[in-house]
């Protein structure tokens, strides 16, 4: 009983190995299907499985701990995205950041941050199973047009440089749209909306012969 109370804030919800996990798009791949990439495909789509941790607090308070734990500096400017080797950090609001981490890593990072920060006024919320990353690659023009058909935000490279991420409207839902490098766009999508976003992108991407690659880390893993 008392044990439960002490651990309440830092509850490791990630299942042990051997428990089958289903990504938010696992069923969509089955019931909607995955058009195979072909020679005409100008856009490729895949789901990437990560852990997601929301960080709340003051930038100055969080920055040092984040550097120590993740080796990344906390994005200080609005809409900034720092992309590291294994993790990324994105500004969501003046007191809110999104850390995208290797799957199964959220609890370790949260615990490490909490211990580094001691009594500081911060908050962390694990939302790993609540959202997923849809990655889009392909030729620049087709990618940009697919995004223009989908989001209201200006995705021109002059306005949306690498290292930027925004929360915006996609079709009739919201997504986080990120540009981690020259090659890729990422959509961070809420789990319950993932099927809708997936179907939307397939439909809007038809003219670009969009193809879906099943990530080895996606779907059911054992």
């Amino acid at each position: 009983m008392s044990e439960a109370i002490e651990r309440a804030r830092t509850f490791d919800a990630f299942p042990d190995e051997g428990i089958p996990l289903e990504s938010p798009l696992a069923w969509s791949f089955e019931h909607v299907g995955c058009p195979a990439p072909g020679t005409h495909s100008r856009v490729m789509m895949r789901e990437r499985q990560h852990d997601h941790l929301i960080l709340r607090g003051g930038a100055i308070v969080l920055d040092e701990a984040v550097r120590a734990v993740l080796g990344l500096s906390l994005p200080a400017r609005p809409l900034e995205l720092s992309q590291g080797e294994r993790a990324s950090l994105q500004w969501l609001s003046p007191d809110e950041w999104l850390a995208v981490l290797p799957q199964g890593d959220a609890f370790r990072v949260e615990t490490a941050l909490r211990s580094a920060l001691g009594d500081a006024s911060v908050a962390f919320s694990d939302v790993s199973a609540g959202q997923t990353v849809i990655e889009l690659t392909g030729d620049d023009q087709a990618l940009r047009e697919l995004l223009m058909k989908s989001v209201v935000y200006d995705v021109h490279p002059r306005h949306f440089a690498v290292g930027k991420g925004v929360t915006t409207v996609l079709a009739k839902t919201s997504v986080i749209l990120r540009r981690p490098d020259e090659r890729r766009w990422e959509l961070v999508v809420r789990r319950s909306f993932a099927d809708y976003v997936y179907r939307w992108l397939l439909d809007a991407g038809e003219e670009f012969a969009i193809g879906v690659e099943r990530d080895v880390t996606a779907g059911e893993t054992t």
Partner: protein, 1013 residues
């Protein structure tokens, strides 16, 4: 198939590519590069429609978007039908099929034409309102026939085979119109590196340069156009959109463009490599600056019989001859108030046809074009105008007379000239529609005899759209506007050298709108102002005589400028006539408001891909696949798809809703059931002030809720009305997990943020939605503990160790879980939260172990029955924003003595909220247990009271209870809490009156013994 009016040479058509098309069932041929209108004229088709009100035969008048008559129904098959297409804007393609929209049974022999002819005089403005008003019940019948005969196009009865889409664009400079001004503007702006979008509604860029004879740098203007387009096309920051109409100008430079992507190719969009392409596309453009280069529309003159086919605009005559190689007649009479009218006469002469005369309203015309016409032997009649056109299906003659414009009368004897075509020009009106879509009114300029736009912030005008007409000036203004627009958006570009243009010396024009007739306007033959809506000069005069003085009222009374026309040709003439009748000046009378859309937009383009399966998001829980595979029926709760019930097939027969719900209810009350409750909103609340915040936002107390405990909370707005409810668990001293209703999740999160950010920023607390992270499964029923024991690790499930309204952490089916002992069914219940990735594993494990307990999945309907038996409310069903906690009888959930005046507290003592006769939540038990009252049914105290009966309340929830073996309901009744045991009556639509007793809202286990075991 011959094309009698086609010239052998000239124009921008390709005579080596003939195209066949069908109009009103008859086959014709045209050429690649034609519009439907130019091809019809080439084939000598005079009558293209019947008019809206009088059913008079009508022909093509214009060559662009301003065409009022040639509005056709397009499509070969039923599914392809597209209404309200302007033939002047429809490119010809092989196999095109079109019909007139008006005319019943057909345009040649028209039933309403007879009525119009006989009754023309009897159909003044307001005719339909006046004639068909009474009895009102018959209006629907009248309307059907009026519509059928008047014709407004029709929508297809079959599903549209095409797809459509929308695209969001952002640019620094949007140039609307690709005539000389627009091209110069786009070119100048593009050289700065700014993002430029250039759109034009026509098939080709070039605007007036496409049908003029202008020389730029001593070369044909089209060469300059090609050169500019080549440069623009090579610039990756430039987007060129031909066949794209800027239809709406909205706030802050948001412009909607309608691009017709395949309408010029076929009725259905051709596939590319087997993939569907959108037929048309709506571009939603946010531009830093907009350059309005929409040009001008020529105004026709208003004279008697000006609607007989063969009456055209002067500029349209030139366009058909020069651009399409079509001369729309043999013998031409021109009536003009300016030099531009002569252009048509000269082009007609160049085409080798006869110009009978030019009637020029000016006493002494002297411009350059006048001199040329005179030199070429054209008969010019100064100080005159065509006062009347004659003919039935085609102009046969024109009556010309000298006129006195100021005195508005005919001064001399008239001469009748044989002709088949009559071209008129009253000058040019800048196309200002877009500039006034956000409410800005244009200004009248006497020197131009036209309204010019007052520009909204962020818009620049160039060329004729702003009232500048000479080609050299237009080009310069376009360039300057492009440079200025780019510069204002932060992009500077180098000087742009424009081609040299020989300027033309024009004589001054006179202001002529309606041509006087020998008879007074009210008795003269019809002089049409708005051809599409059949508005005449007499109609406007009559309206002013009947007391309509505001131009907006005149518009509504006469229908001038209504509908798809939006007053493109007629508005200025109509205002001028109203001004004359009212004895005012045109600026005093002012203009009516133009509204989007400038031309009709197909619904498909507006809808885009928001149709069918993508109409609205469908939100799925992590267990959705299982529900689908089990054959669940679903219910929409907000955007969520929730299992409604799980019908089983018994003896080959699928259960009904009622049967399934009875079975599911019994399973929960007698065994164990399971519900997917993942859709409940979940908000992670952290911070040292989290507890204080909860105390302020909820009605009840939170100060003493211990770690490991759960509490039900009620949330009000500050007006004291219940807005949401749910349970909140204390995870740690500074950490709480709040649940909300499924539909209220997003609103509650925003609500918490609102109070935190605007009223109590000093509280150290943060809110994060974790709805999608946790999957929630409710295991409930007398056997729930036995089932849970089989799968749970790390939690002592004994009653004393894990009490009602406690939560514990452990593992369920090997997966880390938080388990909450809360109950929405009134039975022993465990709510299990696991990370959603593992939800399916846990759910299936529960069923694997649950088989021996006959674990029964239940849906929202059973959930509703079970909770209603317990009197648990559903916010949004039993409340509607006008219900206080006290109205609900939930004083137990109100902390009256909390130190902080929580949200909603003060309002509870307002005189209105403290009334004793407010509608209060009660239970209703029908006298006849087999009756299930209708939700929403009204409640009366005296069923014999004469109608209207005073209504004292209504049913909010109503079900049949298999446990109680009776129908039962929750309802709100005036003063209901004081009416226990009273009988009320519920009159039904079918005439029956049900009788019910007011009882407690708690129908089952009032002491809560079943859930607390």
């Amino acid at each position: 198939m011959s094309q009698p009016n086609r010239l052998d040479t000239g124009g921008l058509i390709d005579r080596s590519r003939p195209l066949r098309f069908t109009f009103n069932g008859k086959e014709y041929s045209g050429f690649h590069g034609d519009t439907l209108a130019s091809a019809l004229l080439a084939n000598g088709v005079d009558v293209v429609n019947r008019s809206f009100k009088y059913s008079r035969p009508r022909g093509i008048v214009a060559a662009g978007a301003e065409e009022p008559n040639a509005v056709v129904q397009l499509g070969h098959t039923e599914a392809e039908q597209v209404p309200n297409v302007r033939a002047t804007q429809q490119a010809l393609f092989e196999g095109l099929t079109a019909r007139s929209t008006n005319g019943w049974p057909n345009v040649q022999r028209d039933l309403m034409g007879t009525i119009g002819k006989l009754g023309g005089k009897l159909m003044p403005p307001g005719f339909y309102y006046k004639t068909f008003m009474a009895p009102a019940s018959l209006w629907m019948t009248y309307e059907r026939y009026i519509r059928k005969s008047a014709g407004l196009g029709r929508s297809p009865l079959e599903r549209d085979p095409d797809i459509y889409d929308r695209i969001n664009r952002h640019c620094e400079v949007l140039v609307i119109g690709a005539g000389p001004a627009g091209l110069a503007a786009a070119l100048a702006a593009s050289r700065s590196g700014a993002r430029v979008i250039l759109c034009d509604e026509q098939e080709r860029f070039g605007g007036s340069l496409l049908d003029g004879q202008a020389l730029l740098d001593d070369r044909p203007a089209l060469q300059w156009v090609e050169q500019v387009l080549e440069e623009l096309a090579a610039n990756p920051e430039v987007t060129l959109l031909p066949r794209t109409t800027a239809n709406g100008y909205h706030d802050h430079n948001f412009v909607t463009l309608h691009e017709r992507r395949s309408e010029h190719l076929a009725h259905c969009a051709p596939r590319v490599e087997g993939r569907r392409q959108s037929r048309s596309r709506l571009h939603r453009v946010r531009a830093a600056r907009v350059v309005l280069a929409t040009g001008a529309h020529e105004r026709p003159l208003v004279y008697a019989g000006n609607d007989v086919p063969g009456n055209l605009l002067c500029s349209a005559v030139s366009t058909y001859i020069r651009r399409y190689g079509v001369v729309p007649g043999k013998r031409l009479v021109v009536s003009t108030s300016n030099d531009d009218g002569y252009r048509a006469a000269l082009d007609w002469l160049d085409a080798g046809r006869e110009v009978v005369a030019v009637a020029d309203a000016r006493p002494a015309p002297d411009g350059e074009l006048v001199e040329i016409a005179r030199a070429r032997g054209i008969r010019i009649l100064p100080g005159s105008a065509v006062v009347e056109a004659r003919g039935e299906q085609r102009v046969a003659s024109a009556r010309v007379a000298t006129i006195d414009i100021d005195a508005f009368r005919v001064t001399g004897a008239s001469e009748t000239l044989d002709c088949d075509t009559l071209a008129s020009s009253g000058g040019f009106s800048p196309v200002i529609h877009l500039a006034s879509h956000t409410g800005t009114r244009p200004s009248w300029r006497d020197d131009l005899i036209a309204f010019v736009p007052n520009l909204p912030r962020g818009m620049l005008a160039a060329g004729a759209a702003g009232g500048t007409f000479g080609l050299a000036e237009v080009l310069a203004e376009g360039r300057d506007a492009g440079l200025e627009a780019a510069s204002q958006a932060g992009f500077e570009s180098a000087e742009l050298i424009l081609p040299a243009v020989a300027s033309r010396r024009d004589g001054a024009a006179v202001a002529l709108f309606q041509v006087p007739h020998e008879k007074p306007t009210l008795r003269a033959p019809k002089q049409f102002v708005d051809l599409q809506n059949d508005v005449t000069a007499a109609g406007i005069e009559l309206a002013t005589r009947e007391g309509f003085e505001s131009i907006e009222h005149v518009k509504r009374y006469t229908a001038m400028g209504f509908g798809t026309d939006q007053g493109k040709l007629g508005n200025i003439n109509g205002m001028a006539i109203a001004a004359r009748c009212l004895g005012r000046s045109i600026p005093e009378v002012g203009t009516t408001v133009f509204r989007p859309n400038y031309t009709p937009v197909t619904f498909g383009a507006i809808v885009g891909r928001y149709c069918g399966a993508l109409f609205d998001p469908e939100r799925y829980s992590a267990l959705h696949q299982w529900h689908v595979e089990q054959g669940a029926e679903f219910e929409d709760v907000g955007q969520w798809k929730r299992p409604w019930y799980f019908p089983r097939t018994v003896n080959g027969k699928r259960e009904t809703l009622h049967e399934a719900v009875m079975r599911e209810c019994r399973a929960v009350r007698e065994g164990v059931g399971i519900l997917d409750a993942s859709t409940l909103g979940k908000i992670d609340i952290q911070g040292p002030d989290a507890r204080e915040f909860l105390g302020r936002i909820y009605t009840n107390k939170w100060a003493k809720l211990g770690v490991g405990k759960v509490r039900y909370g009620l949330m009000c707005k500050d007006d004291g009305m219940v807005m949401d409810d749910g349970t909140t668990s204390c995870l740690a001293e500074d950490h709480f997990l709040m649940t909300t209703t499924t539909g209220g999740a997003a609103g509650v999160l925003e609500w918490l943020e609102l109070w935190h950010q605007t009223e109590w920023p000093e509280l150290d607390v943060s809110f994060t939605s974790v709805t999608d992270h946790w999957a929630t499964m409710t295991v409930t029923g007398p056997m729930a503990r036995e089932l849970m024991r089989e799968l749970t690790e790390g939690i002592d499930l004994d009653r004393e160790a894990f009490r009602f309204m406690d939560w514990r952490e452990g593992k369920v089916a090997g997966v880390p879980a938080r388990v909450f002992r809360i109950s929405f069914t009134g039975e022993l219940a465990y709510e299990i939260n696991v990370q959603a990735h593992a939800a399916m594993h846990v759910w299936k494990a529960l069923f694997a172990h649950g088989e021996k307990y006959d674990l029964t999945p239940y849906g929202t309907e059973t959930m509703h029955v079970l909770r209603a038996e317990k009197g648990f409310i559903i916010a949004g069903q039993d409340t509607d924003g006008s219900v206080t906690p006290e109205d609900l009888g939930m004083q137990w959930a109100v902390g009256y003595d909390k130190p902080f005046s929580w949200v909603g507290q003060r309002a509870l003592t307002r005189s209105d909220t403290a009334r004793q006769d407010r509608k209060q939540l009660v239970g209703l038990k029908p006298r006849d247990p087999s009756v299930v009252l209708e939700e929403g049914a009204q409640i009366v105290l005296d069923p014999d009271h004469p109608i209207p009966m005073p209504m004292v309340g209504h049913v909010t929830s109503s079900y049949y209870s298999p446990t109680l073996e009776t129908g039962f309901a929750l309802a709100v009744v005036k003063g209901g809490h004081q009416r226990m045991g009273e009988t009320v009556y519920l009159p039904c639509v079918d005439g029956k009156v049900h009788e019910a007793e007011i009882v407690s809202t708690i129908f089952l286990d009032p002491k809560g013994e079943r859930q607390n075991v």
